[in-house]
């Protein structure tokens, strides 16, 4: 081993983070962005235009994620090109610039798959969990994550502006970079809602007013305008029960837990050892066995309550 004293690794990482932080800038916004118009809070969308300078910039940690996402876009384009498709990377689009109501944005990719049409696509790099869970338009709408729920509005806005009724999402998993392709039909009802929402935003901005706060803490807690919006947070208080009987039952449950675990382990080992033995004697134990036919049935989708009990 060298006796050289190496530069402090924390100093190195700090410098990298600082450089990344320097790159993060907040830019003015004059009209809603296609990538944002699906946001559930209209107040946020209005603030993004009228109080853009008050936006709290994202942290450097997120900037690493965004940069990775931009690299994924290049990888995705390479995928289509290598497969022999004609790929277009649109420059700032005239159709978008002339859209009414005004929505701005930048189309990721347009691809000719050889059927005589060119399709608009949106590329997203996603973690493995999100990548696996997204397979249809409904999956995007049903996602718990706000940023994923915004994706359909973004793609459909581009499709609407381009006058196309079919587009696609091209997803790549991170890590792994595996591809997933999802065709998306333009949902005219949904698009109508998006356009009306855009018109409302335009009006609020023009009138110098803001819509009311939404009642969704999960959206508010990460909002970059939380310090200017100051929404009232209303949460249901935790129920605290004073029940000696229930407490004793819970105590007993936790006492039995290790024994139950041991029981299951030994039961499993014994079952494995006596499998397919019709008659067997071990010490004072007589063991018999046979095959039983099990009736097949389908488990219908349903909802169930899952409780977690932790001992404090």
């Amino acid at each position: 081993m060298s006796n050289r004293v190496l530069p402090d690794k924390r100093d190195i990482i700090n410098k990298i983070y600082e450089a990344k932080k320097e790159k993060i800038k907040v830019y003015p916004s004059y009209v809603p962005r296609a990538s944002e118009i699906g946001h559930p809070c209209e107040r946020y969308l209005v603030y993004s235009i009228t109080r853009w300078q008050d936006r709290i910039p994202h942290d450097p940690g997120l900037e690493f994620v965004f940069e990775g996402g931009r690299l994924v876009e290049n990888l995705a384009i390479k995928d289509f090109e290598e497969a022999g498709y004609n790929v277009y990377r649109p420059e700032p689009d005239k159709a978008i610039a002339e859209s009414r109501p005004r929505i701005t944005g930048h189309i990721d990719i347009r691809v000719d798959f050889g059927d005589g049409n060119v399709y608009t696509g949106e590329i997203k790099g996603l973690n493995k969990y999100d990548y696996d869970s997204l397979n249809s338009l409904e999956d995007f709408f049903n996602s718990k994550k706000v940023h994923i729920r915004k994706y359909p509005a973004q793609l459909m806005t581009y499709m609407y502006i381009k006058g196309e009724d079919v587009g696609f999402f091209y997803l790549k998993s991170i890590p792994g970079f595996q591809p997933k392709f999802i065709w998306i039909n333009l949902d005219y009802n949904y698009m109508e809602e998006v356009l009306k929402k855009t018109e409302r935003i335009e009006k609020y901005v023009k009138d110098g007013t803001v819509p009311g706060c939404i009642d969704d803490y999960k959206v508010c807690e990460r909002c970059p305008f939380l310090h200017v919006c100051l929404p009232e947070i209303k949460l249901q208080p935790m129920e605290i029960i004073d029940s000696i009987e229930m407490e004793e039952k819970l105590n007993r449950l936790f006492e039995l837990k290790p024994v139950f675990k041991e029981y299951n382990e030994i039961d499993k080992e014994i079952k494995e050892a006596i499998k397919e033995k019709e008659r067997l004697m071990i010490g004072d134990y007589l063991i018999t066995g046979k095959y039983i036919d099990r009736k097949g049935y389908e488990v219908k989708p349903s909802k169930y309550w899952q409780s977690k009990i932790a001992k404090l």
Binding site: N3, I233, P237, M238
Partner: protein, 285 residues
Amino acid sequence: MEEEKNNGEEVPVAIGSDNLVKMAEFAEKRVDAINRIKRAALRVTNVRDWTNQNGNPYLQVSGSEKVARLFGISWRIDEPKLTEYDDGHFGFSYKGYFTLGVATIEFEGSRSSKDGFFSKAHGKDIPPSEIDRNGVKKAALTNTIGNGVTRILGIRNLSWEDLKDAGINISGMAKVDYKKKEMSKDAKEQRDKIGEMIMEMAGNDKEEASKILEDLTSFTAKDGKEVKGKKSLADLSEKAVPVTYGKVKEEYEKWQKKSKKVKGSSKKDEPEPIEEAEYEQSSLT
């Protein structure tokens, strides 16, 4: 005042024997409840929700939000107040009203551009005009929410022991020390020399070197308590570097003399003197 007899002595009703028991029971229950709340709150946080701020555990806003969600704490916040100082610095304060069930408390949280977090970078002062106003404002809000949540639950001032007991790995915690400045070039050079000497004495064994450093930087405090030394060069402060350098140099020179002696004697195939070997070992571990 209404009074009752208690063991032949007259005592006020409010603290009569039955009431004393009740009060004691109530106090015990209250302590028990606070301890349970504390443990439940800690249960939903992890190491990323805490920072070591000037030596004390500090629950960050991410942790406060988790705790607030668990207990169902509601709040509303008034518009912020801006205070501007003569030296160009400024501060924001928010007043919040925090509710849990039927109980509501008020808390006013504030942050100032004078805080080291905003006003210093690499040991140098940042002019107030260059400090991000929104950053200070947001920090004042998170300070208000964080404090409001922990105050209404009565779980302010948690200790490192509390965190350890809850299974939070405090060694991996982010550290915020506002007073820390970047080390000067001279100190860095001395620190590098300390590293070189220690590594040589330790035979390039990093673990051994760490032990040597710990030994040489340990000392007895004024109150007679033994203060453990630093295991890593990165933990040496600018002030500690020259002192440590002196000690290490002295030890290094002794070690050099001895190793020359040992080498010389081994040439003659003589056994290594026991006393010297023992000394060498005890001085380095």
